[in-house]
Amino acid sequence: MALQPAITDLELLKERPAVACLLSELPGALQAAKFDRDELTIWVDSFNLIDALKLLRASSTTQFAVLADLTALDWFPSEPRFELVYSLLSHARRERIRLKVKVSGADPYVESVTGLWAGASPFEREVFDLFGIRFQGHPDLRRIMMPDDWEGHPLRKDYPVEGYR
């Protein structure tokens, strides 16, 4: 099982249902795509996030009805600094994809997906708590892991890991 090089050329990926669906139904939303180690990653811009998720969930060719996971990545010091990572799962088609959204470090926020999956609520709270990314429209955005009066966001790469604070 030697590693194959990642495919990032959209021309080669446009046959894949998720990519094809986004290209035809929501033109302009898709920024890039990558197929690496049998996993498809798609980048969409943050204004189209909710529409893209709705589309992938409802479309008969994709049927990604399950949000398996929601987390974030911090690419400090590069900009846009954060990436939101949505792992979608289709029970009907037995397939996973990863949807990513880039968010700037200056004022990190995205739309909340709790309207689509109520269960995303604690996941978004966790990202808010540990990365400091806000979710607009979240019903109860509070810290979840750290104490309420904690300062800073521990999973950020510039968070001090040693020394006296």
Partner: protein, 405 residues
């Protein structure tokens, strides 16, 4: 940058509660919350109006710690997340790293992993059954369950030297071969264990008190189960016919024959039936794994990633160098990212590992099943009786180490 202060809301206790209702605090030291779960209950008489979990008491920042460790040093951290299913966590992590590396493991290691994973499931379900039954008032089951669990912990001690924090799997295989007499021990256990499952079942399944406390209690609808991101037996008790072992096979599960128990009632009893069914399937899978276990190496042939045998390390220059390099500098992993989900006893345990090409992971995220399954607490308990909260918590089988990480 906006200040976090504007999002710091009032303490929950002050924001819920009205003239008719009172707020009751449950936990974090309540014995039936299986760890340090704190629940805030707004009750009207004995009926729950609202329930809010307050978690984070066991948060130890494992995800952050992983970023400072070599890839192989993360394995012991994974045991400590879901401490009742250490092997499932080990498996999910090593599978993710092997996928990043493009590494294939030898068949013997694969079958040993499968066997131990199913033993882990039995171990975890036995603790669930014992404590769940005890919460509801059936004390006897607990003692029987822990008698059999002790046997499984002895097996773990035989292979790994540890009863609970096993850290037995390695990237590229397993740490060492099975000890002498181990397979006979497991065979003996597998021979009598199916009868023991029926014994537990005899104590509970037709017991009118058990039925009264579990049937029709803490309902979860199928649509809610998907929307609330539930997985594992909790979702299968509501008719979600999904099991990663069967539907997206990993680690060789496609070579085993098994059924996936699914119930449609969505109550505590349905989830009990699903887990009892899984106990029966798991022990049959253990038997299949023993029958199929081939001879051969237990580690992949990848000298720059897998530690050499002790014997070789002491006699061969090359192996000594590799050993030294791996221990002091770790092994590098090509850039990329993977998500590996496995069916842990509680549901989908997913590891999202991002590599930046160095010897330490850039990010390790654990999608823990308990964290997602705790979402169900609202639909299960609201507008139900206070006395059923304990049955509801037991039926989703959360582990607080897994919730808080």
């Amino acid at each position: 940058m906006p200040s976090i202060d504007q999002f710091r809301s009032e303490p929950i206790v002050e924001t819920i509660g009205s003239d008719r209702t009172m707020v009751l605090n449950m936990g974090p030291q309540h014995p039936s919350t299986h760890g340090v779960l704190r629940l805030l209950l707004e009750i009207d008489g004995e009926t729950i109006v609202r329930i809010k979990p307050d978690i984070g008491y066991l948060h130890t920042g494992i995800e952050k710690t992983c970023e400072a460790k070599f890839y192989q040093q993360v394995i012991p951290m994974t045991d400590r997340i879901d401490y009742l299913a250490p092997m499932s966590n080990n498996l999910a992590y090593v599978l993710a790293v092997e996928k990043l590396l493009g590494l294939e493991i030898p068949p013997r290691a694969m079958w040993i992993r499968l066997m131990l994973n199913e033993l882990t499931r039995i171990n975890s379900h036995l603790v669930w059954l014992g404590t769940h039954a005890m919460d509801i008032g059936a004390m006897t089951v607990f003692l029987y369950c822990f008698r059999e669990r002790e046997e499984i912990l002895k097996m773990f001690e035989m292979v790994a030297g540890q009863r609970m924090m096993t850290s037995y799997f390695r990237v590229g295989g397993i740490s060492m071969d099975l000890p002498l007499g181990f397979l006979d021990y497991v065979k003996n256990f597998a021979a009598y264990f199916p009868d023991r499952i029926e014994q537990y079942s005899d104590l509970l399944t037709n017991n009118p008190i058990w039925i009264g406390r579990t049937k029709g209690v803490a309902l979860i609808a199928k649509e809610d189960a998907v929307e609330l991101m539930l997985s594992g037996p909790t979702a299968r008790g509501s008719g979600v016919d999904w099991d990663l072992r069967r539907d997206m096979p990993y680690a060789g599960y496609d070579k085993l024959e098994f059924k996936v128990p699914v119930e449609t009632a969505g109550d505590v009893f349905a989830r009990y039936q699903v887990r009892m069914g899984e106990l029966r399937e798991s022990i049959s899978m253990v038997k299949q794994a023993i029958a199929n276990l081939p001879d051969g190496p237990i580690k992949a042939d990848a000298p720059k990633i897998v530690l050499p045998d002790r014997e070789k390390m002491k006699t061969q220059m090359e192996s000594l160098i590799h050993h030294f390099k791996i221990v002091t500098e770790g092994f590098t992993v090509p850039e990329g990212e993977v998500y590996q989900g496995v069916e842990s006893p509680r549901g989908e345990m997913g590891y999202y590992v991002v590599s930046d090409g160095t010897a330490k992971p850039y990010r390790v995220h654990m999608r823990s099943p308990s964290f997602a399954n705790l979402n169900a607490i609202g639909v299960m308990c609201e507008h139900n009786l206070l006395a059923d909260v304990v049955a509801a918590i037991g039926s989703i089988d959360i582990i607080l180490g897994d919730v808080d990480r």
